[in-house]
Each structure stands twice: as C-alpha cells, then as structure tokens.
C-alpha cells in the first residue's frame, strides 16, 4: 500500500466515523446502537475506499489502465515425499479397506469477457521489458518520451521509448528471472 493510499484510507475512516456521530444527533439511539452505527459506518467507508484504491488507474500517456486482481506469481511446490511420508508402514495396515479420498472434481468456468475499463485495448501498447519479458515496470514520463525500469530483481533493465515508435526488440528470458 502506498503512503497516499494509507492517507486516503485513514481519512475515509475518520470521515465515516464523524459522519456516523453527526447522524447520531438526528436520531436518539442507545449506547450500543450508537457504537454499532459508528463502527459499521467506518467499516463501510474503509471498504469503499479499498474498492476505489485497488482499481488502479495510473495515468500514463493519455490513458489509464485497469489492473486485474494481482495473482500470486510464485508456484506452489509439491512437498517432497521424503518429508511427508512415513518410511515404514505398519505391517497390519489395511489400506485397501480405507475409504480412498474421492478424486476432487474440478469445475471449469467460461472464459471471461475482457474488462475494458475506460480504454480501448485495440489501441493500446502493453509495456513489456525488452530484455526479460516481464511486465512489472516503473515508468517516468516526459511528454511523449517514456523512461522505463524493469522491476524484476534479476533484470533491472532500463530503456526509453517514444510514443508512436515501435516497441524495442523483446526476448522473453525467464532464466534471468529465477
């Protein structure tokens, strides 16, 4: 969370609480109901602020971009059998009589329609590191000129690009990225 976001969240909570207190002047409620109104008001305010803040709209070259919920990037590793499995099985173990765990069924969902939040994907350049192919980038913009820095800790490539010019030669090098 950035400092800006934290400030917005805190202000939202304070405003919601103040709003709740002002509202209490209008209705005559007992103590616990008053507390409930203030707390619920503050929570709703915070949740609303979260909703607004997590819909990122970083202004870049005449546009905004939507950000899907960031998924976990690191894969989950299988537990090594050596650490999870007893080496010696009881001789009288009746595994064949144990109810096998029913295989989990996976349900598929339909492919989702793309979210197009305020910009035309057809007219967009998706920025990508030319050296490693990562998408995690920092950008400094000066008019039509953009200075990028790849945030991939194993890459760190810096380059410049001007709007209207082709994107530089890009090679995905995941073996840089660990």
């Amino acid at each position: 969370m950035t400092t800006r976001n934290a400030i917005v969240l805190a202000l939202t909570a304070v405003c919601a609480a103040v709003g709740g207190l002002i509202g209490l002047q209008t209705w005559d409620l007992d103590f616990w109901r008053s507390v409930t109104v203030v707390v619920v008001g503050a929570l709703l305010g915070v949740l609303l602020a979260f909703g607004v803040l997590t819909t990122d709209r970083r202004p870049v070259t005449r546009t905004h971009h939507p950000t899907p919920a960031v998924a976990e990037r690191e894969p989950v590793f299988a537990q090594a059998a050596s650490s999870s499995e007893p080496e010696t099985k009881p001789a009288n173990r009746t595994w064949w009589a144990e109810a096998p765990a029913p295989p989990a069924t996976t349900t598929a969902t339909k492919p989702q329609e793309p979210l197009r939040q305020g910009y035309d994907v057809d007219r967009a350049v998706v920025a990508q590191c030319p050296r490693c192919g990562d998408f995690r980038l920092d950008l400094k913009q000066d008019g039509e000129s953009c200075a990028f820095h790849c945030r991939n800790p194993n890459c760190g490539h810096r380059w410049e690009w001007r709007a209207g010019t082709p994107w530089p030669t890009t090679v995905v090098r995941r073996n840089l990225t660990g």
Partner: protein, 286 residues
Amino acid sequence: MENYRQSVSRADPGCVVILLDRSDSMKLAWGRTGASLADGAALAVNNILLDMCIKATTEVNAPVRHYFDVGIFSYGARVGEAGEGVESAFGGALAGRGLVPLPELAEHPMAVREEPSIDLMPVSARMPVWVDPVHGHRTPMCQAIAVAGAHVFDWAAAHPDSFPPIVVNITDGMVTDSPYDGATLQDWARRLTSIETNDGATLFFNVFLSPFEVTEIVFPSDPGGLPPPGPDLFALSSPLPRPMVDNARVDGYDVRPGARGLAFNVGRSTLLRVLQIGTRVPDRVR
C-alpha cells in the same frame, strides 16, 4: 478428457514402484549372459533409475527435477534382516526408504561402479547403482503388493491430480503366499489397481523372466497360448493405456487393441525396454 493424460511436473509428479523378485530361483543363469536373473534384474532396475535421473536433468546449474517419487520393494530374501519378507530394496543412504523423490535418488546411489552393458555388448561403463542383486527363499508376491500398496495409497491421496502410480512387478516364479491375509493374488492386484488419482487407476504391469531362451511375448492382447503362469499374469496386468501403447509402437512393438502391460519370457535388454515403455508417462515431449 480421457484418463492417463497428465504429464509430470513438480506439482504433479509421477510415482513409479518396482516390485523386485528376490526369491531363490533368481539365482539361475539368464540365458547365455553368464549372469543370474537377479544380476540382470538389478542391472535393469539400476539402468531405469539412471534413465529417470537423466530425463529429469535439464540444465547446467540446476538440480535434477522432482518429476517422480520412486520406490523399489523386494520380496523373497531380505538384506536388512535375515529371512524371507518384503523390504525396500534401496541400499546405502536410502536403505529402508519407501518412496524417494528423484532428486534425492540422484544424489544417493549406494555406489558408482563398473557395470556390464545390459544388451550383452562387450563393454562396461561406470554407472550409479541403487540396488544389488540378491536371491533366496520363496516368492511372497502378495505381501509385496500389500506393503507397496500402502505407499501407493498414501501417495495417490497426496497427489490427486498426478498421473496414476505405475507399479511394475519383475518376477521369475509363482506366487507362494496366496492367499495372504485372507486375500488371493488376484484380490491384491484388484486392491492395488483400485487406487486412483483424478487421471485414472493405478497401473500394474508384470514382467516374467525366464532363464531359458524362449520366445519373448511382449504386451499380448490375448492370454491364449501363454504357458503358465502367463494367463494368470495376463489377468493381473492392467490394460496398456494410450500413451504407453504409443510408446510401445514407437519402440517397434506391434500393440493390438486390448494389450496388457505384460512381458513374458523376456531377455535382459527387453526387460529394460519394457521398463522404459512402462515408466514413460505422457509427456508433451516439447
């Protein structure tokens, strides 16, 4: 989507279990090799383990990938304790271990030594060894399935999305402990193959070794004409799933519909080829 399609990855590794007959009859000479059935079987098992390690070696400065958990269970003579029984056949640092992840297996052979060529060429090569040739006592095949089955059961429960476990039984003789614990060999095989993942049922393949040079029968689709105990082993063996049918055809075998995972009266090099076909799970190759 049909079963037996899952490829191996570190999240969904495969499981290969070999049941290795170490009964007394494994001391017989294997054809003209000059070595015993036990020698040849151990050599083939060590070769297939090396194959698996090589397949999981993918890049410099990277460890062997955890594509499989591997177990070798011997039945007949025991090494850990005297007498007849079932035990892990691994030696050295892995002695007594059940299923071992492939990277750990690659790290801990019991020895690296000069071994003869499996195909009887007059050459030898230094190679890692995980299993020694041993023989003695009778053939407690049912107990072997019971012991290995417990490992397979737990493994399948822990890896519901993986390719199903592959159990390959290498034997030269008739089962001597059926019924075991009230169940026949057929019952034990049924119990074993009832263990499932989302990708299908456990595969149970059988390889029957003969000390005599007789006609090899590989992946038959019909038990007719098989000498004893061929028909019984045919009945125990799982049908070859599609990817292994493809593997076998690539290796030049004429695999008919309904073919079972059974190889009968095989020689040493065929044993290794059958192990390679039976342990090569579907892979996108690329």
